[in-house]
Amino acid sequence: MDFTEEQIERYSRHIILPEVGGKGQARLLQSKVFVLGAGGLGSPALMYLAAAGVGTIGVADGDHVDLSNLQRQIIHNNNRIGVHKAVSARKTIEELNPDVNVVTYEERLTADNIREVIRDYDVVLDGSDNFPTRFLMNDAAFFEKKPLVSGSMFRFEGQLSVFKGHEDYPCYRCLYPEPPPKGLVPSCQEAGVLGALAGVIGVLQAVETIKEILGIGEGLAGNLLIFDSLKMSFRKVKVRKDPECALCGEKATIKELVAYEDAVCDLRTATK
């Protein structure tokens, strides 16, 4: 593809990197990334993906911007309170980089529509805030054979991995076969979360997504990265594909998407 003068200048710091170059930048501009949740993790991830020139970004969120979001959800601002999060995210991205085509999904993603929604994308990124959605996203990514860049948080700690159950790598269910019973793991709303932690984990999700698109370096697939902001420590745990995984194992029993909606009292598509 031919770059415009403006694009050559905008992406010059990428193009100068031998690992990216003009070819890699062109690949980014042609790539499509789906981001579930324009919340704590989605905000920084979306902004860096947009700045990097990912050509098409899908943003799904069923919520509206709330004042309590602004402590960490930096893609939104005071003037956007009450605005649909996907719409607010699109505004910020459009101001950041007009090269990006933003597709918003303001409806709730369910077992009925999520596979179709992610089908067109190259990489999917999970920044959702509840287990039913995390399992739905994992299963949908597996069935659609998409790499899933997954991030999650609890208070001062974060987890990050890339799941590729359709290849010789684990999926989320290889680590956690089923969602925990309701009430066992508190949400951010119940437990609190350090705002800047969302920046660390969300930006790492963007980094892994960009590496995945460019095919450079060593991806996190097969590893779970755990960040503890209080200790300022990163641990990388080797995780493996479970041959008995109900989704991606040899004798898989999950053949279609499972809706766990009834397991939670407060299901939202994405982050609050």
Binding site: D126, L175, Y176, E178
Partner: protein, 79 residues
């Protein structure tokens, strides 16, 4: 001694991020570590837990020996 690490709400529930255990038994496994943890910390949650011995994913039947580090990690949901 076996060093046990608690993450997320496990650290909240136990009130500590790590503990040291002595397992007298020969041929001890992650399951024995978990039993000992449950004995020591009341109300240790059941939920789905991920185990790692020396930073490699393990299951309940994985062997654990003196000097090993066992991490117990719950899933996080926050985004």
């Amino acid at each position: 001694m076996i060093r046990v690490l608690f993450f997320g709400m496990l650290a909240t529930k136990t009130g500590t991020r790590e503990a040291e255990l002595e397992l007298k038994k020969q041929g001890a496994t992650v399951s024995d570590v978990l039993d000992e943890v449950r004995r020591r910390f009341d109300g240790f949650p059941d939920g789905p837990l991920l185990f790692a011995v020396n930073e490699e994913q393990a299951d309940l039947s994985s062997p654990v020996k003196d000097g090993d580090e066992v991490a117990i990690m719950p899933p996080f949901s926050g985004g």
